[in-house]
């Protein structure tokens, strides 16, 4: 049986062109990304290092080498030392809280129930809404006069009455008193990262194969034992990834501090990012600002390496 005859258009290029060659094509397709990243991340990073070793300011941006003077000056500056401490403290405190809370929440979200989509939406809001705008909401909540939280506290008698648990004043100055300001920052940091950590942990928890848990049940393991000996070890890599990402985001955060306290009161809530901004951009001391920001780098490098290691270990079964 022969096919109806058909003439194929002539002139298929006899040798095959560049669109066929794998290695040329591969390089061409990845080149723009590489070029962009080198130009817009690599080069500026090198520049940041150069700035930190110079005496550049916005008035005189020339790069004159001055050695490690800026780093020494930073370490001698009490505000810098405070911001370094704050950065570490805020990050560790908020993220430890986040790990526990997100694990709890993720476990709860494993179950099916009515209205799940709504609950998910509400829980995710801190992360899915622009961070500066969500923080603005908190600004009012933590306001020194109009805070609704204070209103509730006054209403139930914990505040505003002589002998009350939280004092006789009409308001707690969440953003004005150092201890409370620090707690507020940590609170908002937790609030922001919790959704992200929850979703990551949820993905980890739901990836444990059902038959593993069923086999353990048949073997006689109690829920506690199952959690301890199966769930936790298997989800350790993904929990670590959630933790590490939370650390990266909180460690480098500028928005929460800037919007809520501008680093106050009296620099008590200053962090490395905000101090860099105030010194380097608003203050015009480019060299000093660059030096301050570079203190973040070693920690981030260590975190990134840890994340890569953890990602390699997440092959569950």
């Amino acid at each position: 049986m022969s096919a109806p005859s058909v003439s194929e258009p002539a002139a298929v290029a006899a040798r095959g062109g560049i669109l066929d060659r794998e290695s040329a094509l591969a390089k061409m397709m990845i080149a723009p990304a590489i070029l962009y990243i080198v130009a817009m991340i690599g080069v500026p990073f090198v520049l940041a290092v150069l700035y930190s070793l110079s005496d550049a300011t916005t008035g005189d941006p020339s790069l004159k080498f001055v050695g490690l003077r800026n780093f020494a000056a930073a370490l001698a500056d009490p505000v810098f030392r405070l911001s370094l401490w704050n950065t570490v403290f805020f990050t560790l405190a908020s993220q430890c809280i986040v790990v526990l809370l997100s694990r709890l929440l993720a476990t709860a979200l494993l179950k099916n129930f009515r209205g799940k989509w709504l609950v998910r939406f509400l829980i995710m809001l801190p992360w899915t809404a622009p961070i500066s705008l969500g923080t603005i909401g908190w600004l009012w909540m933590l306001d020194s006069i109009f805070s609704p939280i204070d209103w509730v506290l006054r209403y139930v008698g914990l505040l505003g009455v002589p002998g009350a648990l939280l004092g006789a004043g009409t308001n707690l100055y969440y953003l004005g008193v150092p201890g409370l300001a620090i707690s507020s920052i940590i609170l908002v940091d937790v609030w922001r990262i919790l959704p992200l950590a929850t979703v990551i942990q949820l993905a980890g928890l739901s990836s444990i194969p059902k038959d593993l848990m069923e086999a353990a049940e048949v073997d006689g393991a109690t829920p506690w034992r199952r959690t301890l000996m199966i769930t936790i070890p298997l989800t350790l890599p993904i929990t670590s990834i959630a933790f590490l990402f939370g650390v990266v985001f909180t460690f480098t955060d500028l928005v929460v501090v800037y919007v809520l306290t501008r680093g106050g009161p009296v620099h008590m809530t200053q962090v490395l990012s905000s101090w860099t901004f105030f010194k380097g951009i608003e203050g015009g001391d480019l060299a000093q600002g660059a030096a301050i920001s570079l203190f973040m780098f070693p920690v981030l490098a260590a975190v990134a390496i840890l994340i890569l290691r953890m990602a390699r270990r997440t092959e569950v079964v």
């Binding site: 049986m1 096919a3 109806p4 058909v6 194929e8 258009p9 298929v12 290029a13 006899a14 040798r15 095959g16 066929d20």
Partner: protein, 343 residues
């Protein structure tokens, strides 16, 4: 038309020689099977013929044209993958039309050819469906129709029957063979299933570790294996091999029969056969046992036709024999076939 010449082709992945200096030429219109265990290089070789893998050394010639550096689309070949590789977002019609549309054939001509190809495999009624709505057998036919629609000079198939269930496999095998005979296109077929190879191939190329062990018709490969690998790979149960000095003596299970039943005008070799156990398979019986002294007893299998009803029991020994003409000799060190008559 449809002559593929493989000249000294090798493929290295790092330090591993997946294909090792292969020379091969197809006959026009033949059904050539590349047979071997997984990792033997047969699929890599097929992919190099297709052009989706580049050889490290050697040349590929199709119909007299050196195609070694040409991309697949310029080689006038068609291929069916093990997974069928149907485009999931296109209807069956569009799938089959794809190779023609890619070459710029215009709509009316495409329609005629698609209907012709679909008719050849009896899938006209499936033309509007999407691949996910088809059964395994139907998908296979669509893949075949897509391959044939261009009327290529060479047809390449990579284990296309292994995804079908056992029952479907045998009927699909038969249809494939008939179809190839009818159309007469040179076909190169890769499989690890030696029954499939024997059933389909005009010639079989037995491969192992990247090299060709033997090329021949099914009968040649079965009756006159070139080395111990071919002897034990082809045929189930495999050929029996016994030590004999620096030689291995080989004989197929169906040639190893009770001494009375062996017709050996040219001579016969007898072995006392101690039976270990028997398998009754209906049309035949497989008898497993040992031959030789206790200390160096060798396991041997005998295949008795159902018509031979001699009662046998495990634990007892019987005189079994092989006709001299059914005996093969292999060099112990190299495994290669040796000429000569055994003593």
């Amino acid at each position: 038309m449809g002559c593929v010449e493989i000249r000294g082709i090798s493929k290295l992945f790092g330090n591993v020689r997946a294909v090792d200096h292969v020379d091969l030429a197809t006959n026009e219109g033949e059904f050539l099977v590349l047979l071997g265990p997984s990792g033997c290089g047969k699929t890599t070789l097929l992919r190099m013929i297709a052009g989706i893998e580049e050889p490290t050394e050697g040349d590929m010639v199709i119909d007299g044209r050196v195609v070694t550096n040409l991309p697949p689309r310029l080689r006038d070949i068609a291929m069916v993958f093990q997974s069928y590789a149907l485009y999931p977002h296109m209807t069956v019609y569009k799938n089959i039309a794809f190779p023609l549309r890619a070459r710029g054939v215009e709509k009316e001509a495409v329609r005629k050819k698609v209907e012709w190809a679909a008719g050849m495999f009896k899938i006209e009624r499936l033309l509007d469906r999407k691949p996910r709505e088809l059964s395994g057998g139907e998908r296979q036919r669509v893949a075949l129709a897509r391959a044939m629609v261009r009327e290529p000079s060479v047809f390449l198939l990579d284990e296309p029957l292994s995804n079908l269930d056992a029952l479907l496999r045998t009927s699909a095998r038969e249809e494939l063979r008939q179809f190839q005979r009818r159309v007469g296109v040179t076909t190169i077929y890769v499989t690890h299933d030696q029954v499939e190879a024997m059933g389909l191939g005009d010639r079989i190329v037995v491969m192992s570790q990247g090299r060709i062990r033997q090329i021949g018709t099914p009968m040649e490969i079965y009756l006159w294996p070139a080395d111990t690998f071919v002897a034990t790979f082809v045929g189930s149960p495999p050929m029996n091999l016994l030590d004999h000095g620096d030689t291995l003596l080989g004989f197929r299970p169906e040639t190893f029969l009770p001494a009375d039943a062996v017709e050996g005008s040219e001579g016969v070799v007898t072995y006392p056969f101690e039976v270990t156990y028997l398998e009754y398979l209906g049309a035949e019986r497989l008898v497993y046992g040992t031959v030789g002294e206790k200390s160096h007893a060798r396991h041997v299998v005998s295949r008795l036709p159902g018509s031979l009803t001699l009662p046998l029991a495990a634990g007892k020994a019987y005189p079994f024999a092989v006709a001299l003409r059914d005996l093969r000799r292999f060099d112990k060190k190299s495994g290669l076939y040796k000429e000569g008559v055994s003593s």
